[in-house]
Amino acid sequence: MQKWMIRLLIISFSVLLFSCKTYKIDDVVKVETKEKVTYNNYFSDSEMDYVYKTQIEVYGNSLSGIFVAKKMNDSIHRVVFTTDFGNKLLDFEISEKDFKVNYIIEDLDRKLIVNTLKKDFQLLLKHKFLVEEVLENELDIIYKSKQDKKYNYLFKSKQDNKTFKLISASKSKEKVVITFESKDNKFADNIIILHHNIKLKIELNKIEN
């Protein structure tokens, strides 16, 4: 009986150990800094209409359309996704704390879908990051920021200070990776949102409007 107990304990303990392996970025060193905040400037200009041709791939299915985001005031963004024909599929109002569904078509009105998109868009549109730690490698500076139980890692290029990656991770795992390509560090030309725990990829390409 005791042997059995011990074995079980060892197993569960190792499972615990395994799952508690902390997530960290490879090959970086910690930098001493006084920086308290850093910013992701894409989507932060309220004068701008952010319009993107969009491809969503989810578990082998693909969905195409137009993604629109607009900063309405200091805290709220409006986000709309339409088909290529212009029919509205969803219309959200998003801030860091609040979330409102103005419209969503029935087929997409599932708790899991709405919650996933809400979190993705909140991360994508987040402007201000409170810096907990700064890391670096030869080419990049990485700002680690805590948000509730998660950590965000904002990657900027040392050469031109452009934001090019944003990782959202739990204590142990990478959950969502967003990559940005931009000519001017104000408007991202290409964005890819990639999930690691579910098969979901969202690609946005800027439409010159």
Binding site: E47, Q55, K70, V80, G86, N87, K88, I105, E106, N209
Partner: protein, 209 residues
Amino acid sequence: MQMKQISSIVFLFFTTLFFAQETKMNATEIAKFKSTVEKESKTIKTIKTDFIQYKHLDFLSKDIETSGKMTFKSPNLLNWQYTKPYEYSIIFKNNKVYINDQGKKSTVDGGSKMFEKINKLIVGSVSGNMFDDKEFVISYFKNKEFYITKLAPKTATIKKYIKEVELYFPINEPTVSQVKLIEPSNDFTRIVFKNKVINAKVDDSAFNN
């Protein structure tokens, strides 16, 4: 009277005047208009036209503009092709929908009543022959430039997506030059047809994906 009140009365006067320019057609006018459009649409074998699509979202500073060309061959071949600012085409053929999204091809099986309805709606929108009292509550208007039919869907499923379809017929032309699809939120898609050619020779190969 205060300045504010005066200005609002003036404003009210002008907006009433503006809207008053669109008047209801009387029974004789409606009968004549319907028979002309129906007669013309019976002679339509093919339609080739360019189009510009304006997606209006109230919160955006500018409508989203996409454009392309449309080819229709009676009774049910349709190629709706966006060329700017990106390539995207959707072909209705043999109860199937063929999509080519910037080179990425996919097929959706139609065969359903919904498919038939969409096909009818698009073809009807271009030819103008949509006087279907079973599907729509139809009202008829005219102004200096256009005869306008306003179609409010009767079916609950369609009502969720479309509040009203407006078809604009230039006074001296029996086919549609503008379509406006109004959503329940009052945001709308406006499609303007240009360089329309009726009954030009169209090969079936124009509907290959």
